[in-house]
Subunit: 260 residues, 2 copies
């Protein structure tokens, strides 16, 4: 197989264990040129932010004494735009974002920097995958990294993902031998119940800490959340066309033209 270029990025930051595990797995596979362009610092929950009002600095990052990749003072989406538009000599054949510490399931997808990097890859015309391990405390990245290599190889062998489609993959936080299989899923309606803790600073001004609990709503059997919590790897095809096609006809029935 012709060597292909894989671009790795994440939102946990270039020093995170998850992206290093991905790097090693792609290097060891031997069929890839591996490029890393990732945020200098942790950028979780940044959503699809991009940096347009200030310049973005970039530095070379070294790990184990050799060049590892580019550390970017920006968001995950910035990293992908910069990689494709300025830092890499050639357009990558595939992009893998992760491995995220913690699942990106249900409505959490809209806040996720990991998913946003893969979305930006798709916007840039690169087949892209976001991958997360559903374990915040002691995630095992090894199996997820090997799976990322297999999925990347599969995507490349069939000529790429459909235009505009990316994959959001979540691996359960359990031992490899307990994982039951892989399921194609839809984004669930799982969300958060926000709690705000109000405090006062020493000068008497209010400030708030955001906190939250999982809120289990309708968890369909075909959903990402159900799959992962039942011991399956979840693979959800997602896209950035946010049009709610099923509401178009309903909206047309409003006679909205008359509101002008």
């Amino acid at each position: 197989m012709k060597r292909r270029t894989v671009l790795l990025t994440n939102d946990d930051g270039i020093g995170a264990e998850g992206i290093y595990s991905l790097f090693r797995a792609f290097e060891e596979d031997g069929n890839f040129d591996v490029k890393v362009v990732a945020p200098e610092r942790e950028s979780s929950a940044v959503g699809h932010a991009i940096t347009v009002f200030r310049p973005i600095s970039v530095r070379d990052d070294y790990q184990d004494g050799s060049f590892f990749g580019f550390a970017v003072d920006g968001t995950p989406a910035d990293c992908v735009k910069l990689a494709v538009g300025a830092l890499l000599k050639e357009r990558p054949d595939i992009l893998i974002s992760g491995i995220n510490r913690g699942g990106n399931l249900g409505e959490n997808v809209i806040y996720s920097g990991t998913v946003s990097a893969a979305t930006e890859g798709t916007v840039c015309g690169v087949s892209s995958v976001a991958i997360s391990v559903d374990d915040l405390k002691n995630p095992n990245y090894e199996y997820a990294s090997l799976l990322a290599v297999k999925i990347a190889s599969k995507i490349l062998s069939i000529g790429g993902l459909p235009k505009g489609t990316l994959l959001n993959i979540n691996v359960p936080g359990i031992d490899r031998e307990r994982i039951k299989g892989i399921k194609i899923t839809v984004q669930s309606d799982i969300g958060f119940k926000d709690n705000f803790v109000r405090r006062q600073d020493p000068r008497g001004r209010d400030y708030y800490w955001m906190d939250g609990d999982f809120l289990e709503r309708n968890i369909g059997n075909d959903s990402d959340y159900k799959a992962v919590k039942s011991g399956y790897v979840s693979v959800t095809p997602i896209h950035y066309d946010m049009t709610d096609y099923k509401s178009l006809d309903y909206l047309k029935s409003w006679d909205i033209e008359k509101l002008i």
Copy 2:
């Protein structure tokens, strides 16, 4: 009609002209209790970022000598979470985000703080609308504000938007009398061609400025971009279920289970 509570927010910041114009229009209508919770500073292109690793401060904002609303040291999505979860005594009946200076069309929707605030309203179970004027230089907010009041009244009169659906409204940047009508549209494929300008700081380190030009791809006749550029108000129903349903069957044909 029973008085209803409207929550106003934006991404241009609480001092922006667009939100003030909205405020006046809802006040003058007389049927609404108007609440404002908006970012202290401009927060364009922040996407759906939320603030989870530091506290969020809130201050009272005064305009024309009287209380205007809450200014939040956070993102548009933070503002909505805080408003619904902590600052307002009652859940708002409807949320209007805007009026944004500049259109939110096509793939720009995924970067938009204005749309993300309305998305967060929907996540919180509040019928929500994002509204923008497609004119960066000299936007006329007056007609867009009156339209926002009409749309809000219509939504409330029919008992709210469908669960999970929000409206992304773009008003052309032309005189009121030249606006031809209102069209229900889909999100177009219009995007940006990123350009990066590389410079060096006085110590010889590279930094980049992000710039870009509009990239017209397939602009369907039923799209947001086409409607606005042809002189129509565009109303696009959007949702935050990013599942690409049309790719589910294709993905199942991969025998992806065998990759485990």
